[in-house]
């Protein structure tokens, strides 16, 4: 029930509402049937069924389960063979993969928690956990990368022989496992930064393993031991590069910044352009999860409250053109009402 409540989803649930359409009648017992008639002109009052949202988090539960199992096995294998083979690159890779297991667990936990019903304490449910998970994933990656980098720098001063054959074999397995797991998440990396975090983690790992194989091969070829830490540093740089974007978007979301793909000027223009609107202020658009957006706005309408049709219309437009699913509009009748939030310098 609660899962179905989370999105407006008017624009796109024509194709989804199906069988869930009639089991959510919490709002249908108000005796407001006569009012329904007023809405006859709008075609959207009967199909607010399912979790219809273009960005609705797809179910990645299986991907998480597989990814976590494979990676845990890999961590153990790499740690053991890295120790036996005396390769920092491999040990470091094990450490990095361990941080991935944590990362995957966090992302999985968040994607489950996001589906929890809202409560009195958390009125938006636990959707926000997906943002925190993405943030945590970015930080995990940066810390793990820092640790690898530090190890590598120390290895430069004191290079040690590496058992090339073992290292290569284990790292090759790493390429397969990380690549496969990354591929599991590839489908969701665009819409949801929580999934993108998981994807980046795995893709990054794939690169690390590939680097280890190459450096091990080159060491066998040339005998130049410094290649092992050098390769580690290169990989660190690559991971830092890819993590930066994830960190930026998750920090932005934590700061309640509007999602980058929503053009606030366009939203402002849309609302100001509605019939009867003299002025708007106190517009806030912020993410309530990595996939859902909420909005509040105050609209000054000197001719009086235009009624529900207007509100519905705005909500539907916002959903359709900006994917803002949770809008609250405060209609203020006169400017003499002088809303304390009206001045530009007030948040």
């Amino acid at each position: 029930m609660s899962e179905q409540r989370k999105n407006v989803g008017r624009a796109d649930d024509h194709r989804r509402h199906g069988d869930r359409d009639h089991d959510h009648d919490g709002g249908h017992d108000h005796g407001g049937d006569d009012r329904h008639a007023d809405d006859a002109g709008h075609d959207h009052h009967h199909h607010h069924g399912g979790a219809g949202h273009v960005h609705a988090p797809a179910n990645f539960g299986k991907a998480f389960a597989i990814g976590i199992t494979l990676n845990t096995a890999l961590v153990v294998a790499e740690a053991v063979y890295g120790y036996l083979g005396n390769s920092t690159a491999l040990m470091a890779d094990a450490g990095h993969n361990l941080s991935d297991v944590f990362g995957l667990l966090v992302a999985w936990g968040a994607s489950i928690a996001s589906k929890r019903a809202p409560s009195g304490r958390f009125t938006y449910g636990l959707r926000g956990s997906s943002i925190l998970a993405a943030l945590a994933n970015a930080v995990f990656l940066l810390v793990a990368t820092g640790a690898i980098g530090w190890e590598s720098v120390q290895r430069f001063r004191d290079p040690e022989p590496v058992a090339g054959g073992t290292v290569m074999a284990v790292a090759a397995v790493g390429i397969l496992i990380n690549g496969a797991t990354a591929w599991l998440f590839a489908g969701g990396r665009k819409g949801d930064i929580n999934i993108r975090g998981a994807f980046l983690h795995m893709a990054g790992d794939c690169a690390v393993s590939a680097g280890v194989v190459i450096s091990a091969a080159l060491i066998m070829w040339t005998g130049w031991l410094l290649l092992d830490p050098a390769m580690s540093l290169v990989i660190c740089a690559v991971i830092l590069w890819s993590t930066w974007g994830l960190l930026r978007s998750s920090v932005g979301m934590s700061l309640s910044a509007a999602p980058a793909e929503i053009d606030l000027d366009a939203v402002r223009k849309l609302l100001r352009g509605r019939p009867g609107v003299a002025e708007i202020h106190d517009l806030h658009v912020w993410p309530i999860s990595t996939t859902e957006t909420a909005m509040t706005c105050h609209m000054v309408m000197p001719d009086g409250h235009p009624g529900d049709a207007f509100l519905l219309d705005c909500a539907s437009l916002l959903q359709k053109s900006h994917k803002i699913g949770h809008a609250t509009l405060q209609i203020e009748i006169s400017e003499g009402n002088a809303c304390s939030l009206a001045p530009d310098d007030v948040v």
Binding site: L264, L283, H284, H298, T328
Partner: protein, 299 residues
Amino acid sequence: MHGGGSTGTAAAQHAGRLKWALGLTATYMMAEVIGGLVTGSLALLADAAHMMTDVGGLALALLAINFAAREATPQRTYGYLRMEVLSALTNAVVLLLLTVYILYEAYQRFQSPPEIRSGPMLVVAAIGLVVNLISMRLLAGGSSESLNVKGAYFEVLSDMLGSIGVIVASLLIMWKDWTLADPIIGAGIGLFIVPRTWTMLKQVTHILMEGTPANIDLAVLERKLGEIAGVTAVHDLHVWTVTSGFDAMSGHLVVADMARGREALREARRVLKDEFGIDHVTVQIEDEALRTEEAVLHV
């Protein structure tokens, strides 16, 4: 109460104190790092690491205050108010990581205790105690109002106890020649902050998850709004904290007669401000028809 202007958040008023505390702590941290290396004491190094998070925490707190005063941008409609919350989160995470490091280091030193020069160790720790007492007095005033200043205060408090710990350890080494006192007390200093850090982490997470502020009972708020003349139903109620000292609210009120919506809005704003201290509200007035539409749509 309301953020945004130059008076800003609760923390802003404490910027001056934070700056003094930062200067003192940073200076002393350097002394302690040098002291730790010279004397070989882990307890002192652990204390220095602690100091480092104080320095980091205080610097972050100041940074957040500066950010919070910055104006909202088109894309960041709440400005950088949340920066304070994020800096508190960073602070908590760094502290926890540091604890892990200290425990690891203590374990290693427990295996093979290094030589320690307890005399200089005692001197450095004693100076540290004085510095901490001053910092604590500087911050005590603001600790109940702002999450950030509270975080900084707790760190300085735990450091003061840390300094006492180091003094005890150096005395034990001096008189009883018991060198294991150093890693034991070092580990103790590391563990000491965990419960407090955990509490801070929980509060920060609550804010970032847009949880209802602890001092607001949503059921009572809903009832009060429902009691407003002409209001037949309340739904979609959200109260959340943007940054410490700044709560926001959005909600939908169903009125029987749209013509009286204006009074309902005015009254709702009065109730929220006077009885719950919430300034930043957005109330959508609607009638029955929209209620049936919306009940199933929203979070």
